[in-house]
């Protein structure tokens, strides 16, 4: 056996198991459902009807709009909270900020279902807030559950710590000496932010955003437990198609539509990752 061939073969052998797993459990099911989404449920012939249904039926259209609305709101609010929060965690040396940084990891260890029930317990119309209010003779019913508000609140619960983690990690990679030297030559705080911190961290913020976007488009548990009856997030609409109506072809079409919506953000992710800033090219 020549060692040359061995050297070339070993890397392929090593990636073979993971490649086979991806082909079997990711590529094959996706292809399978794409093919199925173009099939007529009864005759099996080629049709676009499964897709047309989702873009013409008023209920499904409002589901798609609702999902995009909830997801985009979640993404914007997450960024709004997480970015300043990360800057605080990075540049404050107080003991409080160390504590918060530690606490920020905690939600990662709480199972999603538990978190949803915990929040429901607090904000429902007879929940903790209402009960505390009753002690003071107030009947506080916020009506937060079973609509978009509760889904967004829950999404923020999950995503702010997550986005903060990514952005803070990026900010810690920023050398303190760079900022100090800028300060030495008289740069204002605003200048330091716009000229140094922002350009060096926006990429990671965008990456966090794409992750948040993708994980919320198809979310199921949160909208299932706290969402309303109509309109529905697409994850629930998909569940209805295959579980309640047993319309497998439409379910396949909807999954592909969700896949397409997600790929917009994966495109951004890949683009940002490949794009080099001007000063990095050399």
């Amino acid at each position: 056996m020549s060692t040359d061939i061995q050297k070339k073969a070993i890397p392929y052998l090593l990636i073979l198991p993971s490649f086979a797993l991806i082909a079997l459990f990711v590529v094959y099911p996706i292809l399978n459902s794409v093919i199925r989404s173009f099939r007529h449920p009864d005759t099996g012939t080629f049709t676009l009807a499964n897709y047309l249904y989702f873009f013409t039926d008023p209920i499904q259209l409002s589901n798609i709009g609702y999902t995009v609305f909830v997801t985009v709101t979640t993404v914007l609010l997450t960024l709004l909270f997480a970015y300043p929060f990360s800057i605080y965690l990075r540049f404050s040396n107080s003991r409080l900020s160390r504590w918060i940084y530690g606490l920020n990891l905690l939600p990662r260890f709480v199972p999603g279902l538990v978190a949803v029930y915990a929040v429901m317990l607090v904000i429902n119309d007879a929940g903790v807030i209402n009960r505390i209010g009753r002690i003071f003779g107030l009947n506080i019913q916020m009506g937060l559950l079973h609509n978009a508000k509760s889904i967004i609140i829950m999404n923020l619960w999950f995503n702010i710590p997550f986005a903060t983690l990514i952005i803070t990690a990026a900010l810690f990679g920023l050398k303190a000496s760079v900022i100090e030297s800028a300060r030495d030559i008289g740069a204002s705080k605003l200048t330091i932010f716009t000229k140094i911190i922002l350009p060096l961290s926006y990429k990671d913020a965008l990456i966090a955003v794409t992750f948040v976007f993708m994980s919320n488009i198809g979310s199921f548990t949160t909208p299932y437990l706290v969402g309303g009856n109509a309109p529905k997030m697409l994850g629930i609409a998909l569940f209805d198609q295959f579980n309640s109506y047993m319309a497998y072809e439409r379910a396949a079409a909807l999954s592909f539509i969700m896949f397409l919506i997600c790929s917009i953000s994966s495109f951004i992710y890949i683009y940002v990752n490949l794009k080099e800033s001007k000063w990095e090219q050399r």
Partner: protein
């Protein structure tokens, strides 16, 4: 040369990882009987208890009962898919010795797997069969009911002293007590499903409830009118009527006193009163005409490899011993006379009679009903 040894090691590890290990044979020469069921976790633990009891019983000297369980969430549909696929692949002597089939599913099995998919039951092989009181609406010669449950009206007796007794009284009560009644969205749980089904089918001849004939779907309008008329009187949150998801959704509202009444499964209420999730003040009452119930049944597919063992397990499942376990563990209705079964749960269920269960079997119309509800009721402002 050393390198090729390394490669060999890598290959060995990889293949060991990929192969996994699956082999099981019967112990000590006993023939294994595999029983397939599905549902939530309490069903699973009950089945494991039943298997232990069976293996210790007289039958256990000849047969070893083994439980294969498909947890809900992984989609119970797959038991149907799996057995049909096995039959279509021409397999015989499979381990589908005994499977759980509801009367509503029977039609699907027969249309996909053929009318002769199941063994016709030979009651002479089951001495306990003569004690079974529960009556199925379809498939009497194929299915053996082994436990029942039904939807009833659960109410908080601390707030409601005089609960409605007929469906019309219930509809009137809902209108008189705005926001104090809720049912869960029907596609997410059978309790709300039963409320919707009965609200629609109470307006139709009784025969419609056991027919999958398309013509009945044209008669649904008065029922849906009723549901629409009641819509503003149901439980509200944030100024909007809300139909919580899942059977548990409305029971949670009942537990924290946001509502006073809800349709609920008897076994679920019994279990939750016992475990303290629901307060002791929750009581149950059946309507006239009743909410629909369900008889869970077992059937023997012809592709099963151990017919005699399957009969033995089936016979055991309708014995007093197994029925007591089912009542204790799950609050399930015994299918035999419950008066001589000793269980703490007997008192709670004694007023409901398993032989008068109202069952629905509307086949594919069930999916259409859910869809119509999603389109017309869920979207109401």
């Amino acid at each position: 040369m050393k390198n090729s040894v390394k490669i060999l090691c890598v290959l060995l590890v990889v293949s060991a990882l990929l192969m996994g290990c699956a082999s099981n044979g019967a112990e000590d020469g006993k023939k294994t009987v595999t029983i397939w069921s599905y549902g939530s976790d309490n069903v699973k633990t009950t089945f494991e208890k039943l298997a232990n009891a069976f293996n210790k019983s007289e039958h256990g000297k000849k047969y070893q009962m083994k439980v294969e369980f498909i947890s809900s969430g992984s989609n119970a549909q797959s038991l149907l898919d799996r057995t049909i696929a096995a039959k279509k692949a021409g397999k015989k002597n499979t381990d589908y010795d005994l499977i759980e089939v509801s009367d509503a599913e029977l039609a699907a099995y027969q249309s996909e797997g053929g009318d002769d998919f199941f063994q016709k039951l030979d009651t002479s092989k089951m001495p306990n069969a003569k004690n079974v009181k529960a009556k199925l609406s379809t498939g009497q010669d194929i299915l053996m009911p082994y436990r029942g449950t039904t939807v009833v009206l659960a109410y908080d007796s601390a707030k409601v002293s005089n609960p409605p007794k007929t469906a019309d009284e219930l509809y009137q009560w809902i209108k008189d007590h705005k926001g104090k009644f809720a049912y869960n969205s029907p596609s997410t749980g059978g309790a709300g499903g039963s409320f919707v089904t009965t609200s629609v089918y109470n307006q139709l001849p009784e025969e419609a409830l056991v027919s999958s004939d398309e013509k009945w779907s044209k008669e649904w309008t008065p029922g849906f009118k009723l549901l629409k008329a009641l819509h503003p009187y149901f439980y509200q949150s944030g100024g909007k009527t809300v139909y919580p998801n899942k059977n548990q959704g409305t029971l949670d509202l009942l537990a924290n006193q946001q509502i006073e009444m809800t349709p609920a499964w008897v076994d679920q209420v019994v279990n939750e009163i016992n475990s303290g999730i629901l307060p002791k003040s929750i009581k149950m009452v059946q309507m006239d005409p009743a909410f629909t119930g369900n008889l869970a049944s077992l059937a023997i597919p012809k592709i099963g490899g151990n017919k005699d063992g399957a009969y033995a397990v089936m016979d055991f499942m309708i014995s007093k011993e197994a029925q007591t376990i089912l009542l204790d563990e799950m609050g399930a209705f015994p299918v035999i006379d419950s008066s001589d079964i000793k269980s703490d749960n007997t008192k709670m269920i004694s007023k409901f009679d398993v032989s008068t269960f109202r069952t629905s079997s509307i086949g594919v119309l069930g999916q259409e009903l859910l869809k119509k509800w999603d389109e017309e009721i869920a979207t109401l402002k």
